[in-house]
């Protein structure tokens, strides 16, 4: 029987939740790296026992940890994230130019094709790659050539928070950057271009053709349909059927189209999940009801999933990296909240139950199915 491993990054450490594939009885391991912010941890799809973790602190800076035994033991690896050449400047909040300065690693995305290759999305926004298991890191500076001098941080910092690999084309990658937009490379990261046609941000970006400045919150793809992308934007849930060349809105009947995470069912490429949040100034669910919304038609028609989730007085948020799906035959869906709950569904979202209720605020959730 397979083991399901849920990797949880929180404000005060990492937690690893394990169960058999029934997903009813869970063991909780942690906190690992107690007291540190763990922005993200994720395992290699080729070697699930190899897990990378971003450990960070406002006091002591950035650490990258690697486990080769499924999270039982950890070793610090490389943490030098040096921008290539003279990084120059980007736009600051007041419209002036501001030097590029490394702050932290937001996420670690292990390669689909090589267990020693892993990508890191960092703040101030840039993409780094390691080809030696995290020991050393090199920037892919072509990304910042895509009008990087016009990028401006949002309230959460100028972070590169989403990396999506095309399983059919190793040369194609997508990234998203808070308040800067979404970008694609078709040559393995050498050159990039904005993919924002069709996105609308009327108030902040009156120019309908603005290539940068859209606040993309997260991007998801089903591996069987790499040309189809789903996006949760600051406002609006969007879809592209041509690798981001053009986007159209699929918010449909959602009670709010503001939110952070978006995920796709493991076996149904047209089944999509979002967690609507009331607004950008009220980061909690509408009406105090924690509802995951599922569309089984690729968007527009959404149904509220509420069974087992609090339906009164709930004012938590679900952050952009805090939702994931597993690959078991009955697809599991998982998400974590800023209130420290991890909710799991073993039936594609029909019913939910908390795995744990009182962790520190959850920053990220990933899931592995280990044979």
């Amino acid at each position: 029987m397979s083991t399901v491993r849920v990797l949880v990054g929180t404000r005060k450490g990492a937690f690893i939740l394990t169960s058999d594939e029934r997903r009813t009885d869970w063991q909780v391991s942690g906190p690992h790296f107690a007291g540190w912010e763990i922005y993200h941890l994720k395992g290699s799809p080729l070697d699930p026992n190899r897990i990378y973790a971003s450990q960070t602190s406002g006091w002591f800076g950035q650490i990258i940890q690697r486990s080769d035994d499924g999270g039982q033991t950890w070793t610090p690896v490389g943490k030098d994230f040096v921008y290539a050449g003279d990084p120059g400047t980007h736009q600051w909040y007041d419209g002036t130019q501001h030097p590029w300065q490394f702050q932290r690693v937001w996420l670690l995305e292990p390669s689909l094709s090589d267990p020693d290759t892993v990508y890191a999305g960092v703040e101030d926004a840039a993409l780094f790659r390691s080809t030696d298991g995290g020991q050393s890191w090199q920037e892919l500076p072509g990304l910042r050539s895509a009008s990087g001098h016009l990028w401006q941080p949002g309230a959460g910092g100028m972070c590169l928070h989403s990396i999506v690999q095309d399983p059919a084309d190793p040369q194609r990658l997508y990234v998203a950057i808070s308040a800067a937009g979404a970008f694609r490379t078709d040559d393995g990261g050498a050159t990039w271009r904005p993919i924002t046609r069709g996105l609308k941000s009327e108030w902040e970006l009156p120019d309908p053709n603005a290539e940068v400045g859209h606040c993309v919150h997260s991007i998801a793809m089903h591996p069987a349909r790499p040309g189809v992308l789903f996006m949760q934007k600051h406002w609006d849930v969007m879809r592209s059927d041509n690798g981001g060349d053009e986007w159209y809105e699929i918010s449909g009947n959602l009670p709010s189209d503001f939110g952070f995470p978006i995920a796709v069912h493991a076996h149904e490429p047209e089944t999509v999940y979002v967690v609507p949040i009331k607004s950008d100034s009220e980061h909690y669910p509408p009406d105090g009801k924690l509802r995951v919304y599922r569309s089984r038609s690729g968007g527009n028609d959404w149904e509220a999933l509420t069974a087992g989730l609090p339906q009164s007085d709930c004012y938590v948020n679900v952050l952009r990296s805090a939702m994931a799906v597993d690959t078991l035959p009955s697809c599991g869906v998982y998400f974590g909240t800023t209130g420290g709950q991890i909710y799991a569904s073993a039936d594609s979202g029909d019913t939910w139950a908390p795995i744990v209720r009182d962790l520190p605020a959850v920053l990220s959730v990933e899931v592995q199915v280990v044979p």
Binding site: A34, G35, W36, S57, G58, W59, F60, G61, Q62, I63, P76, K79, D80, V82
Partner: protein, 98 residues
């Protein structure tokens, strides 16, 4: 032997107890102590001072003999009591946040 006291998170990271003892050649300065500390425990590199610039991280403070050395030059000689090991050189996480 120079004695260095590290904050909890750096002790955990380096896998050491509260105090670390180091051989540091004269003159004993904050920079010389940090160089020796990072050489012994490479995982601490970048946690107390920026790897690229060598500047003290904003929320890390240095104390010796009851005095705040955070704003003193990194190559300023520390008191004889630190150089002799009678008093520790203290690396402290600044009080910050809520």
């Amino acid at each position: 032997m120079i004695r260095v006291v590290l904050p909890h998170h750096l002790r955990t990271l380096a896998g050491v107890r509260k105090e670390v003892e180091l051989e540091v050649a004269e003159p004993v300065t904050p920079a010389a102590i940090l160089d020796a500390l990072e050489a012994r425990y490479p995982t601490l590199r970048g946690t107390m001072r920026d790897s690229a610039t060598g500047q003290r991280r904003s929320l890390v403070r240095f104390f010796a003999c009851g005095q705040d050395w955070s704003h003193e030059p990194a190559d300023a000689p520390l008191p004889a009591a630190v150089a002799s090991g009678a008093e520790p050189f203290m690396v402290v996480g600044a009080m910050a946040g809520g």
